[in-house]
Symmetry: C2
Subunit: 405 residues, 2 copies
C-alpha cells in the first residue's frame, strides 16, 4: 500500500496542480494521495483567494484523498519552517513518499546538492554572512551563498520550487528518513509568472493577478482550471468571497494605529526598529500596496514583510510563534477526505502520534485556537455581514467527504 | 471682564445649543464664551457624527469664542469624571462662571440638594449599596439613593442634565470654588427624545436618529440647526463623513477576535468576566446593535457598555486610564477661536497652569498622543480611502479662526 504526500496551497487549484497530482500518483504508484494544505493564509504572507474549505473541495474533486491543514505558524513561514511542519504532518499520516514539483525535476540532483551543502557547511555559512552583511535579503543571500560554493551539477537554488524542494529533502533527512522524496518537473508557467499565457497551465499568481486586473472571472481564467475547480471559484466569486490583502488592510492599519510601538515590536518577525516604519506608514498610506512600498527596504523581501504584516494582524507574539515552531504541529486536522482517505485514516488511526482533529467542537490546543482566530479575522474582513455564519462553520464543519469524480 | 464657560458636545450643533449659548451669554453678562468640547468620541460611548474640527467650526460660527478639547479619558467617562475634566479646563482658562443647561433651571436648588447630599452622605451611601446589590446599574442606583433621601425641594436627579449639572457643581465646590455656577432651563425636546418634533428645538439624539432612519439630510433636519451649522453638516454629508458605530464595528470586532481574553480583561472598564461575553458576541454578531444586545445585562447601562467598547477599540489599559483621570487634563488644546477668544488667550496665557497646545507638531504628552491615536482610528473607520489626509490634518491644523457672523 503506497501513500504519497504532497504539500500544496491550491490558491486556487489549477491545471498545473492537476498535472502534478496525477504525475505524483503515477510516479509513486500510490493508492492514497495525502495533501498537506495551508489554511486561510499562505507562505507569501497573503490571505488565500478563497477559504481553506473551498480549496479542500477543489482538491477532493480532483483526486486528493486526504486534505490536512498546515497550521498557520508553519504555513506563513520561511521555507525551512514550512517544510518542517509539512513533512512532520505527512510523516504522522504514514506517507511513504513525498512528491514535490521543482524546476529541476531530478531528485538525485537534490541529494547531490544537499550532500555538498552539508560537507561545505562552514564555507556556506561564511558566504551567507558576507552576503547578509552586504544588505542582501536572507533568501537572496542564501541562494548566492549556495551558488558561490560552485557545486557541480547541483540544483539551481535561485528558483523558488527548487529552494522549497531542498528544504523538504533536508527535513526528511533530518527527522523522517523513512519517507522517500521524489520530484516532478514543473510544467508550464513559472511560479512568479504574472501574465496569463495561452498555455492551459498558468501559475496561480497569474490567475489571481488576472482576476484582480480584469475585475471579472473570465473564461480565459476558468480555462486554466479543471471544471470542478472553476465551478467552486465561480460560486465564491458570486458570493463576493474573493479575498485580497486590500480587504485586510483596514484591520491591519487599525491594529497599527491603536497599538504602542513597544507592543508592535513584541510581535513575530517585527525586527530592528521596523515598528517605527510600520506606525508611520499606517498613518500615511491609504492602500496596502502603498503601505508595503513605504515599509520596503533592500534588507527584507516583499514576502517576508507581508508575512510580518499577517503576524501583526493576528497579534502573534514572537515567543509564542517560536515555541510553536520548535515543537512542530500539535495536531492533525482533517479538512476533507475521499472514501479512500477515510479508509486510510481508519487503518492508521492508532499509529498517528498526534491528536486527530475532525470537527473543532472546542479548542483543546492553543495552536488550534489560534488557527480558529485567524479564520475569524479572515471572515470578518472578507464578508463582515455574514462573518458569524462563516465563523460558526469553522467550528461545526466536519471534514468534507467527497467521492472522486 | 466676564468669561463664561460651557461644557458641550455639539453632536451636532442645533437650535437648542444656540439658545443655551445666547442665554448663557446674557445671563452671565459675559464678554468671552469658552466651550470645553468633547473630541471625536462622546460621553455616551459613541463616535461623534462629524469630527471635532467641524463641530468646532459650528461653535465658532454661532458665537463661541474659544473651543477647547476635552481629552478622551474625560469625554468618554461617567458624569463625575466628565465634570472634573471639564471644570478643570475651564478653571485653567480663567472662566468666572459656568453656565449649564438643566431640567431644573434653578442653581439654588442644585446647591440646596448638594448640601443635603453632603450632610446625609452616610445614609446616601447605604441606599446606594442596597440598590447596587439589587442589581441596579450605577446611575439608576445613584438616582434612587438620592430620591430615597427625600430631599425637600431638591433637584430631580433622575433627569440626565440635572445629574450632570450636579456633578459640575460638586467639581466646582471641591476644586475650583472661585467659579460661579449658573444654570439655564433647557428648552424644547428632552435629551433622550429620539423623535423629531415640529418644535424648532430638537434633541441632538433626535437629529442623529432621524438622519440614520431617513438615510438623508432632509430640510426638516436642517431646520433644527442654525444655517451655518446646517451648511457644515451638509458638506460633511456630501463627503460621506457622517460617522456611526456601524462604521467602527468591524475594527472593534477584529480587535476582540484577535485578542486574548486576558488582554481584553486588562482594558479599561472591562469588568467581572465581561471578556468572555465580548469574545462570544464578536464571533456571533454581524452588526453593532446585535453585538450590544448580546452583551447587555441589567447590571450595566447601554451607555456604560458603549464606553467600554470604545476603550477596547482604543486599546486603553485600565491602569493608564485611571492614572490620567486622577491627574486631570495634562494640557489645554485649542481647537478654534474668534478674535475675542484669541485676545483672551493672549491676556491669560502666562497664568494658564497647563501647557497650551495649538498645533500638534509632536506629542509631548502621552495623553495627547493617545488623543491623536483615537482620531486616527476614527478617520480610518470613517473614510479609509482618505484617512491619511485627515490624519495629517490632525497634526497640522492650527486652531480654526473665525470672526463671529
Amino acid at each position: 500500500m503506497n501513500t504519497c504526500g504532497i504539500v500544496v496551497e491550491y490558491n486556487p487549484f489549477h491545471n498545473g496542480h492537476y498535472y502534478h497530482l496525477q504525475q505524483s500518483k503515477k510516479q509513486t504508484k500510490s493508492d492514497v494521495m495525502i495533501a498537506v494544505m495551508s489554511g486561510n493564509f499562505l507562505q507569501r504572507g497573503e490571505p488565500a483567494i478563497i477559504s481553506k474549505w473551498k480549496r479542500a473541495e477543489m482538491a477532493l474533486y480532483s483526486g486528493v484523498d486526504l486534505v490536512v491543514e498546515l497550521p498557520y505558524v508553519f504555513a506563513v513561514a520561511p521555507a525551512p519552517i514550512f517544510a518542517k511542519g509539512s513533512i512532520s504532518l505527512l510523516a504522522a499520516l504514514g506517507a511513504n513518499t513525498l512528491c514535490f514539483g521543482s524546476e529541476s525535476g531530478s531528485i538525485d540532483l537534490f541529494y547531490h546538492t544537499l550532500e555538498q551543502l552539508n560537507t561545505k557547511g562552514a564555507q556556506y555559512d561564511q558566504f551567507l554572512q558576507t552576503f547578509l552583511k552586504q544588505g542582501q535579503s536572507f533568501p537572496k543571500a542564501a541562494s548566492n551563498a549556495a551558488q558561490a560554493l560552485h557545486i557541480k551539477n547541483g540544483v539551481d537554488l535561485t528558483l523558488p520550487n527548487n529552494i522549497l524542494g531542498m528544504e523538504y529533502v533536508k527535513a526528511i533527512q533530518k527527522d523522517h528518513p523513512l519517507i522517500q522524496a521524489q520530484t516532478i518537473l514543473r510544467k508550464g508557467a513559472s511560479y512568479h509568472e504574472t501574465n496569463l499565457e495561452a498555455d492551459p497551465i498558468a501559475s496561480a499568481t497569474a490567475i489571481r493577478t488576472t482576476i484582480a486586473k480584469e475585475g471579472a472571472l473570465t473564461d480565459r481564467v476558468l480555462a486554466t482550471m479543471p471544471p470542478s475547480s472553476a465551478a467552486v471559484l465561480q460560486q465564491e466569486w458570486e458570493k463576493n468571497h474573493i479575498m485580497t490583502w486590500d480587504a485586510l488592510y483596514p484591520a491591519l492599519r487599525y491594529k497599527l494605529l491603536s497599538t504602542d510601538e513597544s507592543a508592535i515590536a513584541a510581535l513575530y518577525e517585527v525586527e530592528e526598529g521596523l515598528e517605527h516604519r510600520l506606525k508611520k506608514a499606517a498613518l500615511q498610506c491609504d492602500t496596502f500596496t502603498d503601505f508595503m512600498t513605504h515599509i520596503k527596504t533592500k534588507r527584507y523581501t516583499w514576502t517576508r514583510l507581508q508575512r510580518m504584516c499577517l503576524h501583526i494582524l493576528h497579534n502573534l507574539a514572537r515567543e509564542q510563534a517560536k515555541q510553536w515552531m520548535v515543537n512542530g504541529p500539535a495536531y492533525v486536522r482533517i479538512l476533507g477526505m475521499s472514501s479512500k482517505g477515510q479508509e486510510h485514516l481508519r487503518r492508521i488511526k492508532k499509529a498517528i502520534p498526534l491528536p486527530l482533529v475532525t470537527t473543532v467542537s472546542k479548542c483543546d490546543h492553543e495552536m488550534l485556537a489560534f488557527e480558529q482566530q485567524t479564520a475569524a479575522v479572515y471572515h470578518n474582513a472578507n464578508d463582515p455581514n455574514h462573518a458569524s455564519e462563516l465563523i460558526k462553520a469553522e467550528y461545526s464543519t466536519p471534514p468534507l467527504q467527497r467521492e472522486k469524480a
